[in-house]
């Protein structure tokens, strides 16, 4: 590592060693967990081989990224955006499918998943955009253009289809806009739009599972009627408009100063979110539907998606404080825990290394996030600040989604736990993006 940094005296002193060691700690814990979790799979040797190659590549990229100024990425913003779009197009055209997702680009010798790379590239591109829009950041147009920049990449990812990865863009964009200083009300609307969009399928699934045979006229029956895009849908939208109009009249009557804009925007957003929700609801794949079912009604269907969550909780809970020991977790080693070296690796850690191991990963994650936030705070320019804010939001959300899924707090989403789950391209990309953070921190004094 030091060999690379030799040409720049004083570099070692500027590097955030807390951050670096936290990252090393995560990768090391992940490697140990993976060694145990993958030991029952048929391709154990191949998995190990790929993992260590990826680890070496990631470490190399991390260090290499430290070697040159991160502002290069701001200068090459347009090129990065083209790469992101190009990769996502390429994957749809020449990519190969694994389990129904056209997410892989196969090259001789190895194959990689470009969605996560595209996600980091979008962070870099948006950071450049928001930096340049610093003076007009509170304009609605800033928010809309930011969304417009990310949208094509997201849509291409949705096309794979990979709903979960596309979903991780939203908190990332919101986090960046928020930290850039965008108008909170606008963000609330956009955030509300996203939440409302997701709420409808959740409510719909809940009604379907919990009250399967409700009589017409009851609320569950109405929700199901709304999903059919008929008169009930129209009535609901009219209702939203009416309520918002009445609230506005009431507030005016009470002589409270409120911008009328909010009362035009609110019904518009609510109605369009509802429509989006209905559309998403109608186009949901059965496995995605099952995940919603598992979330709203765990235990309703032990054989399906809820099974994974239950087994994961049992694995983590049965690990206790000290864990059952590596290679000794009955849930993971006997095959009760699904996807044990990829999406559910955290449950494997919880079972075999107990609260100590799971807490260690969570703690290291919090240290990494704290150091990313610190890097943002001390970044020498707005671009660096925004990149760190975006990456912090992204890592935090992905981690919360994955660990939350393993402990039964979040619906099942097929996303890996960065730095811990098995997955070569994911590991390389995540290490590279953390290398950018280290770079921003190391160049905080603007001297290099």
């Amino acid at each position: 590592m030091s060999a690379l940094k030799q040409p720049q005296p004083g570099m070692a002193g500027r590097v955030d060693w807390t951050f670096v060691f936290a990252v090393i700690g995560l990768v090391a814990t992940g490697t140990v967990a993976m060694l145990s979790a993958a030991s029952t799979t048929m391709y154990y040797q191949a998995i190990l081989q790929k993992h260590f190659i990826a680890l070496a590549m990631g470490a190399g990229l991390f260090t290499l990224t430290l070697a040159f100024n991160y502002q290069v990425f701001q200068d090459q913003s347009k090129a990065l955006y083209v790469i992101a779009l190009g990769l996502m197009f390429a994957v749809l055209v020449v990519g190969s499918s694994i389990r129904g997702h056209r997410a892989w680009i196969r090259l001789p010798g190895f194959s990689f998943q470009p969605a996560e790379l595209a996600r980091v590239l979008v962070v870099l591109v948006l950071a450049d955009f928001l930096d340049r829009r610093a003076l007009r950041v509170q304009d609605l147009s800033t928010v809309l253009i930011a969304i417009a920049i990310a949208a094509p990449v997201m849509l291409l990812i949705l096309k794979q289809p990979d709903f979960s990865t596309a979903l991780t863009f939203i908190p990332m964009i919101v986090g960046m806009l928020f930290c850039a200083g965008a108008d909170v009300l606008q963000l609330l609307f956009i955030f509300g739009f996203g939440a409302a969009t997701l709420t409808f399928p959740l409510v719909y699934t809940l009604c379907q599972v919990r009250f399967p045979n409700s009589a017409p006229g009851t609320l569950p029956a109405f929700v199901i009627a709304v999903s059919k895009m008929g008169l009930a849908t129209l009535a609901l939208m009219a209702g939203i408009a009416a309520v918002s109009f009445l609230v506005w009249r009431m507030l005016t009557w009470m002589r409270l100063q409120v911008k009328p804009f909010a009362f035009i925007a609110f019904p518009l957003i609510a109605a369009s979110a509802l429509l989006c929700g209905i559309v998403i609801n109608g186009h949901m794949k059965s496995y995605q539907r099952n995940r919603f079912v598992a979330f709203v009604a765990p235990g309703s269907d032990v054989q399906g998606a809820a099974y994974n969550v239950i087994q994961s909780k049992v694995a983590i809970g049965s690990g206790g404080v000290w864990g059952k020991g590596l290679f000794s977790g009955t849930q993971s080693q006997l095959g009760f825990l699904p996807e044990r070296h990829t999406d559910f690796i955290f449950a494997n850690v919880g079972e075999e290394m107990g609260f100590i191991g799971a807490g260690l990963i969570l703690g290291l994650y919090m240290i990494v996030l704290w150091r990313i936030v610190t890097a943002a705070r001390q970044a020498r320019d707005r671009y660096g600040y925004l990149v760190c804010a975006g990456l912090a939001s992204m890592f935090a959300f992905v981690m919360a989604l994955n660990i939350g899924m393993c402990v039964g707090l979040m619906p099942v989403a097929g996303i890996p736990l960065p730095l811990i789950s098995y997955g070569g391209s994911s590991l390389v990309i995540n290490l590279w993006s953390l290398g950018i953070v280290a770079n921003i921190y190391a160049r905080r004094y603007a001297l290099l």
Partner: protein
């Protein structure tokens, strides 16, 4: 507007607070799962990964008096299914189809069983007692379908098949009611229990303690390794007083009788040991343990549960006459040389009471009266002796009371006499005396009572409580239980009276109605009986005892052939077969049949040029 860096950087602190809160929430959740609720999840994980496979312990063996096994346990193979995790019904369909084909069962039924096991997450028995041939085919399934496995268990086996079936009983599944009662006693829902005879009476002694293997299973239900084992403990062995040869003779003899219905009981008059107890029609207890549920259903549907030997009450007919004789002679009411004239009927008032076949016996003394079974002679004897005395003697011989043989369902029969009548508040007439004198009227007895009577006549007065247990060899280290002879009563009579009655019964066989039971070289005594049956043809009776010359009698027999007609023709030959078997003598009839069968077999084989048929090896009584 403040668009300097300070504003947004404050927002960064807000973002950090949110992130820290998320981290804290996840940490708290982890603590909840791994510290607070850990025990609960640990249990769930253990339940997930282990399966108890119960193994039925071998039941205690039942031996005859010579130590020949009558009921053993055999190792048998059961096909079990250990449910995997997260298997849907349609995943089980191919397995159900394949099993249905191999076992010849309805795939839909099997699918129900598999689905049930999957839902309950508990092992299910798909088939029991598998023959070796299918076993090999099925062991292939093990590799194709995870969760399917073969285990060895101990199964009841009755080497003789149809043999003393009412005495031995059979094994069967518990009814829901029984299961409720036995749940706490270490039985499982699919345990089999003794259902009749001594299997039921000695259930607690015979049953062992089931063992089990705790296996680690993976998510597919595959057995990974043994976690622990609870060894089974076999049940206690019971040695019976049954003589296999006599029992076989009784079973086969009755089976060949006119109607194939009846009972035969043989008792050792010296000890009260039951040598044979047969009730026909009988059943094959092995059939009730068949692998084919249809067959079990069919067999148990028309199973003759009724044990005629202890629960069938019949009028004894002329077999009662020795008791009448003993009463008359012992009380000095008649002398042996005293004769009565028999014109073929007896007139009481305006009613005629006939001798059998309306035959006139002329002048009849005691020996002739008993030998020819002359009713008119016994009418006179009865009237002279008095019904009270006859009833007293009948009571002394144990009639009207249970013999208390340790079997469920014994009947007491009905004692018929003036005293019994008085107790019932009714009067006694001379006509009743006539009926009583020849063992008719309301008098009913069970075959086992008559066997006890025959034994008492043979041993001069000891009325035994019949028993079939020689000893129980406990497995748990308790000293063996050894059954001692138990006398219920003693009939006190003068030696001269015993001499005469015994002499009379010998004459019955040597030159009277009982001649079909005659065995050269043995001293056989007996009395035939042809009891009127209001529901059909007469029931045939024969009571008998036999001894080697110069030795005390060693077997006393009562045979009843339902609706078979004359005792001499229908019942006496059965008794003879039993006597021959008891003394180890060849039965000429059986020998002849065997020779004929061998000839037929040779004839059948020779043209085909095939080697002589080897008998299938007798299944060994392993464990």
């Amino acid at each position: 507007m403040n668009r300097s860096t300070s504003g947004p950087r404050e927002r960064l602190e807000l973002l950090w607070i949110v992130l820290a809160a998320v981290g804290a929430a996840l940490g708290l959740r982890l603590a909840q799962l791994q510290i607070l609720d850990s025990a609960e999840y640990r249990q769930m994980a253990e339940r997930n990964a282990s399966q108890m496979i119960y193994q039925a312990a071998p039941r205690g063996r039942i031996y005859d008096r010579a130590g020949v096994p009558l009921a053993t346990s055999q190792p048998s193979f059961s096909l079990i299914f250990l449910p995997g995790k997260g298997k849907a019904r349609q995943d089980l369909e191919p397995l159900a189809r394949e099993l249905g084909r191999q076992l010849g069962r309805d795939p839909q039924d099997l699918l129900e069983t598999l689905d049930e096991a999957e839902r309950e997450q508990s092992a299910a028995r798909l088939a029991e007692n598998l023959p070796t041939a299918t076993m090999f085919q099925l062991s292939e399934l093990k590799t194709l379908y995870p969760g399917v496995d073969l285990i060895t268990e101990a199964r009841r086996y009755y080497p003789n098949g149809r043999f003393a079936s009412h005495l031995l009983g059979y094994m069967g599944k518990m009814s829901p009611g029984e299961w409720k009662l036995r749940k706490t006693q270490g039985y499982r829902a699919d345990s089999r229990v003794g259902k009749m005879g001594l299997e039921s009476a000695f259930e607690d002694e015979l049953r062992g303690r089931d063992g089990g293997i705790q296996m680690e299973v993976d998510a597919q239900g595959r057995l990974k390794r043994k976690l622990g084992e609870i060894p089974w403990q076999p049940g206690s062995n019971i040695h019976l007083t049954i003589d296999t040869a006599v029992q076989k003779a009784a079973d086969e003899g009755l089976r060949k009788s006119l109607t194939g219905r009846g009972a035969a009981v043989a008792i050792d008059p010296r000890t009260g040991e039951i040598l044979a107890m047969s009730s026909q029609p009988d059943f094959d207890p092995n059939a009730l343990l068949s692998t084919d549920p249809e067959e079990v259903k069919r067999v148990s549907h028309d199973m003759p549960e009724f044990n005629n030997a202890i629960a069938g009450a019949y009028p004894p007919g002329s077999t009662f006459k020795p008791i009448v004789s003993l009463a008359a002679l012992n009380e000095g009411r008649i002398t042996p040389s005293e004769t009565f004239y028999c014109p073929g009927y007896y007139k009481l008032g305006s009613k005629l009471f006939h001798c059998d076949k309306h035959e006139a016996h002329g002048e009849v003394n005691f020996l002739k009266g008993l030998a020819e079974s002359c009713n008119v002679y016994f009418f006179n004897v009865g009237l002279k002796t008095g019904a009270d005395r006859i009833e007293k003697y009948a009571k002394m011989f144990g009639l009207g009371q249970k013999t208390n043989v340790p079997l469920r369902g014994e009947k007491a029969g009905h004692l018929f006499g003036p005293e019994t009548r008085r107790k019932a508040g009714k009067s006694w007439y001379d006509g009743d005396t006539l009926n009583l004198s020849i063992g008719q009227g309301e008098l009913t007895v069970t075959p086992i009572q008559m066997a006890v009577v025959a034994a008492a006549l043979a041993n001069r007065g000891t009325v035994w409580r019949p028993h079939y247990i020689q000893k129980i060899a406990y497995v748990d280290g308790r000293p063996d239980f050894v059954q001692k002879p138990e006398a219920l009563a003693q009939v006190y009579a003068k030696d001269s009276a015993w001499d005469l009655v015994q002499k009379g019964m010998e004459v019955v066989v040597s030159s009277g109605t009982g001649y079909p039971a005659k065995v050269p070289g043995l001293l056989v005594a007996g009395k035939t009986g042809t009891a009127q049956n209001p529901h059909g043809k007469d029931d045939a009776w024969f009571i008998s005892y036999a001894a080697r010359p110069g030795q005390p009698p060693s077997i006393a027999i009562a045979v009843l052939a339902e609706n078979a007609g004359y005792g001499a023709a229908a019942a006496a030959p059965v008794a003879k077969k039993m006597i021959l078997a008891a003394f180890g003598m060849p039965d000429p009839e059986v020998e002849a049949e065997k020779r004929a069968a061998e000839r037929a077999a040779r004839r059948a084989l020779r043209p085909a040029g095939a080697p002589a048929l080897t008998r299938p090896p007798l299944p060994g009584g392993a464990r």
